[in-house]
């Protein structure tokens, strides 16, 4: 077993035992949201860190997934899991339709295009009151109690939801790792490294960018669905450019293309500021300063910087 896998499994084990130690509902709540953020950031990392596509509209897919999941429960009374799957499916379909024209453009134009797309989605959610509830959509049902083999599992409880999120996070990382360790992931990386050379070697760049884009959107939609049911209420801002921008900053600061980076990013830029209640007003300043420092001193992000210290350390950083 590789050292990186050992660390990864150790972290996973730690995540599993945390609720046995942490009894406070507040802390479990915080950790659950952190987990949802990690899923979301991992999905953007597939796009940015591995495929080299800097999307400034990734939160839009998180939002679409959240709203779809919520609305199918509220309007049609579908169960959570069915709504979640429909939400993921519709978002994937939508992202493919959007990606088809958008992924032909390169570099800054792609970033600007996705930024505009995210803004459009937020405005649509905001103004389509009858469907989306406008400024806020509330009353999303909690998960039911399930009797299974004589065991009663209350999915509405903070602890079981925490485990659902951790399981989803693990699944996300597994999907991304398996894709990356295949012809498909190699095509992603070759496009990131040098698209012209990738094409010269027979990689259909548009096709593989679309695969990366659709996969990332599907995962983001899943995170959105989890978020909607956990919070019980959602606002259009979760799909907005501010959110998208924060996600990208989390990856750049954490370290693109690493699992560690997707942990450090949300931890440093969401968890810590959220915890330091007093620092709320200074959060943008904190974001800006940190981003500036990282870009100048650690172009590969914090995880990348740690890896670069020594090849022996590199082997242990997942």
């Amino acid at each position: 077993m590789q050292p990186r896998t050992i660390i990864f499994l150790a972290l996973g084990l730690m995540a599993l035992v945390i609720p046995l130690i942490v009894k406070s509902n507040y802390w479990l709540y915080m950790l659950t949201i952190l987990g949802i953020f990690m899923i979301l950031v991992s999905s953007l990392d597939l796009l940015y860190g591995f495929t080299g596509l800097a999307s400034l509209g990734h939160a839009a897919f998180f939002g679409i997934g959240a709203y779809c999941t919520a609305l199918f429960q509220l309007k049609f009374g579908f169960p959570f899991l069915v709504s979640l799957i429909i939400g993921i499916f519709l978002t994937t379909l939508f992202s493919t339709l959007i990606g088809w024209p958008m992924l032909r453009i390169r570099g800054p134009y792609f970033a600007l295009g996705t930024l505009a797309f995210g803004t459009i989605i937020t405005i649509i959610i905001h103004n389509w009151d009858e469907l989306t509830g406008g400024v806020s959509l509330s009353g999303i049902p909690l998960l039911p109690k399930v009797e299974l083999l004589g065991l009663s599992i209350d999915f509405a409880s903070k602890r079981s939801y925490y485990y659902i999120v951790i399981f989803s996070l693990f699944l996300t990382i597994l999907i991304i790792r398996r894709l990356m360790d295949s012809k498909i992931g190699r095509a992603f990386e070759s496009i990131r490294e040098n698209q012209d050379l990738a094409v010269a070697l027979g990689v259909n760049s548009l096709r593989y960018k679309l695969i990366s884009f659709a996969t990332a959107s599907a995962i983001a939609a899943g995170a959105g669905g989890l978020y909607a049911n956990y919070m019980g209420a959602i606002e259009p801002e979760i799909a907005g450019s501010h959110m998208s921008f924060n996600l990208l900053v989390m990856i750049v600061v954490g370290g693109p293309g690493t699992i560690t980076g997707t942990i450090i990013g949300p931890l440093l830029l969401w968890f810590v500021p959220e915890f330091l209640e007093a620092a709320q007003a200074y959060r943008p300043l904190f974001f800006g300063l940190l981003l500036l420092l990282v870009i100048i001193f650690m172009p590969m992000g914090i995880a990348g910087r740690i890896r670069a210290i020594d090849p022996r350390i590199d082997r242990w950083i997942p």
């Binding site: 012809k183 498909i184 490294e193 094409v199 027979g202 990689v203 259909n204």
Partner: protein
């Protein structure tokens, strides 16, 4: 060796009145040439003669403004650039264009992309056919690693290799596509004598294995030595074409390379 002889004398690539223009500049001006299967064909000429543009036209990465290029009887334009590679035409770029962060072995595996049949779900579910193909790909990549003498740097990122190693890595990556025609743009530029000798050995072996090769280079001595036939270009036009000995004697070639001899005579 018999099999190579049988594939010879069949046209692999054929350009008819090929022209490529950039604005008013005729980068390639009405050129005809034919390349036989198994041949090692040289493309020489001063800088800006249009040699690389011919490679761009063959791989369909630049729009053709006139004429046509046919590979195994099939028109190249109209196919997408990534499909050209799948047809069996691979190029190596002039500067060492590589995936700098990619480890060497994985770099070579990138070339196996269009010969792999792995599906999205196959990769996610790790099906037996996926595992088998990946093992096969790894094995093939290792063979090419050995062939290009890069075994000692297997895990290093491609960008950390020396210039000559990077060129050999690109050759290995191109070979992993399993090409019928390989286009080498200045494969020995910027190398020392030993590195040049190593690269020439590789190019010769590739030809012996039946892969047709077109080489662009400025090193006349090497080109004369390795090429079966060569074409000389100047200002987008074909000056002459033929075996190296004939080409070297051609007064137009000498003029293009050494400047006008007419002026000398008139003085």
């Amino acid at each position: 060796m018999d099999s190579i002889k049988t594939v010879k004398n069949s046209t692999l690539l054929k350009a008819d009145m090929l022209s490529v223009t950039f604005g008013r500049l005729k980068a390639v001006d009405n050129i005809d040439f034919e390349i036989q299967a198994g041949e090692l064909f040289g493309l020489i000429g001063p800088n800006g003669a249009g040699k690389t543009t011919i490679f761009n036209a063959i791989t369909n990465t630049v729009p053709i403004s006139g004429g046509s290029v046919r590979f195994m009887g099939k028109f190249i334009h109209g196919t997408k650039p990534h499909e050209v590679a799948k047809m069996g035409v691979v190029r190596i770029f002039q500067s060492a264009t590589i995936f700098t962060k990619t480890p060497v072995l994985v770099h070579i595996m990138n070339g196996l992309h269009c010969r792999s049949t792995t599906t999205y779900w196959g990769a996610l579910l790790r099906t037996p056919s996926f595992k088998k193909e990946e093992a096969g790909n790894r094995k093939r990549a290792r063979e090419l690693l050995k062939f290009t003498n890069l075994e000692c740097v297997e895990d290093q990122p491609a960008g950390s290799l020396s210039w000559a190693q990077q060129k050999r890595l690109m050759l290995a990556t191109a070979l992993s596509v399993d090409p019928k025609l390989i286009l080498l743009d200045e494969p020995i530029a910027g190398m020392n004598a030993d590195e040049i000798a190593e690269m020439i050995e590789l190019i010769k072996t590739i030809r012996t294995n039946g892969i047709t090769t077109i080489v662009i280079d400025h090193n006349m001595k090497v080109m004369m030595n390795i090429c079966d036939r060569m074409m000389v270009m100047n200002f987008g036009q074909k000056l002459t074409e033929g075996p190296p000995e004939t080409v070297a004697q051609d007064p137009r070639v000498i003029e293009a390379y050494l400047g006008s001899s007419k002026n000398d005579q008139s003085q």
